[in-house]
């Protein structure tokens, strides 16, 4: 498979976060763009490393034993371990606040990226899906920043206007589906 097609496809045109799972960004905690960027970056790194391990396991364990149903469970376990490791390496005080959003992000990226037994393809696809998730989080945080200073009807403040914004964002990105 053409590497550039894979990269741009996973990041843009076939990115499930832009096209269908944009709403997952509503589940992320950050209000600030900086926090969103940190969560997205950690998610991309941890999920791509998890994908490497899962790809190996898929090749050596799941397929020979006909146990593909274990994928989600093992991905969750591997993501948790790598998330803990990443926060220990990072050594900053905001670990408690960021841990759950990063874990949830890793789960979402792992499910969206669809890891296969091809190591390089899985790693690249998951990394690029993670970068797409980072972009969605940063965009959502920026939109929230803008909306926080705007005059919005009381009934639409908070989650309702965020959902409408996510819907419009999804609509916009549907325009680039099929580009790669």
């Amino acid at each position: 498979m053409n590497v550039l097609t894979l990269i741009f496809g996973a990041m843009l045109s076939e990115n499930l976060f832009f096209g269908r799972l944009c709403g997952t960004a509503c589940g992320s905690e950050p209000v600030r763009v900086k926090d969103a960027a940190q969560i997205g970056l950690l998610t991309a790194v941890v999920s791509s490393l998890s994908a490497l391990i899962l790809s190996l396991l898929e090749k050596l364990v799941f397929v020979p034993l006909n146990a593909e149903y274990l994928y989600l469970l093992v991905f969750a376990a591997v993501s948790m371990l790598l998330t803990q490791l990443a926060f220990r390496v990072r050594k900053k005080k905001d670990a408690d606040a960021l841990w759950l959003p990063v874990l949830i992000g890793c789960m979402a990226v792992g499910i969206a990226a669809d890891v296969s037994s091809n190591l390089l393809e899985s790693f690249l696809r998951t990394l690029c899906t993670g970068v797409g998730y980072l972009a969605v989080l940063v965009l959502m945080a920026s939109v929230r920043d803008r909306l926080s200073g705007s005059k919005i009807p009381a009934c639409l403040r908070g989650l309702p206007i965020d959902l409408v914004a996510v819907g419009l964002m999804t609509l916009a990105f549907m325009g680039i589906v099929g580009l790669a």
Binding site: L16, D35, L73, M107, G167
Partner: protein
């Protein structure tokens, strides 16, 4: 990251949990199916988590919860594949996403109710909300309900309702209408 609506408000937390799977409910049948998966995962997950809560140290609760919810989602996916394989292709990536939705709903600490109560309430509400969303999208997108065509005026169909974008916009508008009705008597003038 203070002042986040997901942790402060139980209702908002519930709708945030629906976000990963809302796009799956593009018709009544799919909405009901994904709602059933959410109900099973949330209800059974809530019961198990509530039962083992005191056996686990504080720091092990979130990892254990994530593993339990993922196991339940995988089991639900296998069950759907057994009884209705065509539905698995329709729902595609959204069945595993129920694990993410359930984590968003159950894992943040609730202030007033136990995990089992929250799981039961949210599961039932998820089934109702997703079925209603699917029916609404099918109705305004193609004039039918659960496959039964109610009116055939293709000019009147709102095609955006078929797309994931329509799901989020409709959900946002529905939440806004609900908020307006709830606040109407309280005289919220902000």
């Amino acid at each position: 990251m203070k002042n986040s609506y997901t942790y402060g408000n139980a209702a908002a937390r519930f709708f945030v949990g629906l976000c990963p799977v809302a796009a799956a409910a593009d018709c009544g049948v799919n909405g009901f199916a994904i709602g059933m998966v959410m109900l099973i995962v949330l209800f059974v997950g809530g019961l198990i988590l509530s039962a083992i809560k005191k056996l686990l140290p504080e720091k092990a609760r979130i990892p254990a919860a994530a593993l339990i919810l993922c196991t339940l989602t995988a089991a639900a996916q296998m069950f759907i594949r057994l009884i209705q394989p065509a539905l698995v292709a329709e729902l595609d990536v959204f069945v595993p996403m129920c694990a993410v939705g359930a984590m968003l709903t159950l894992l943040p600490k609730g202030r007033d109710d136990s995990t089992a109560q929250r799981g039961a309430k949210c599961g039932a509400a998820a089934l109702a909300a997703l079925t209603l969303l699917g029916v609404l999208r099918e109705l305004i997108g193609s004039g039918s309900v659960f496959g039964a065509v109610l009116w055939e005026n293709t000019d009147a169909y709102v095609l955006i309702a078929h797309y994931p974008a329509g799901a989020y916009i409709l959900l946002g508008i529905a939440l806004g209408i609900g908020s307006a009705i709830r606040n109407h008597g309280k005289g919220d003038t902000k």
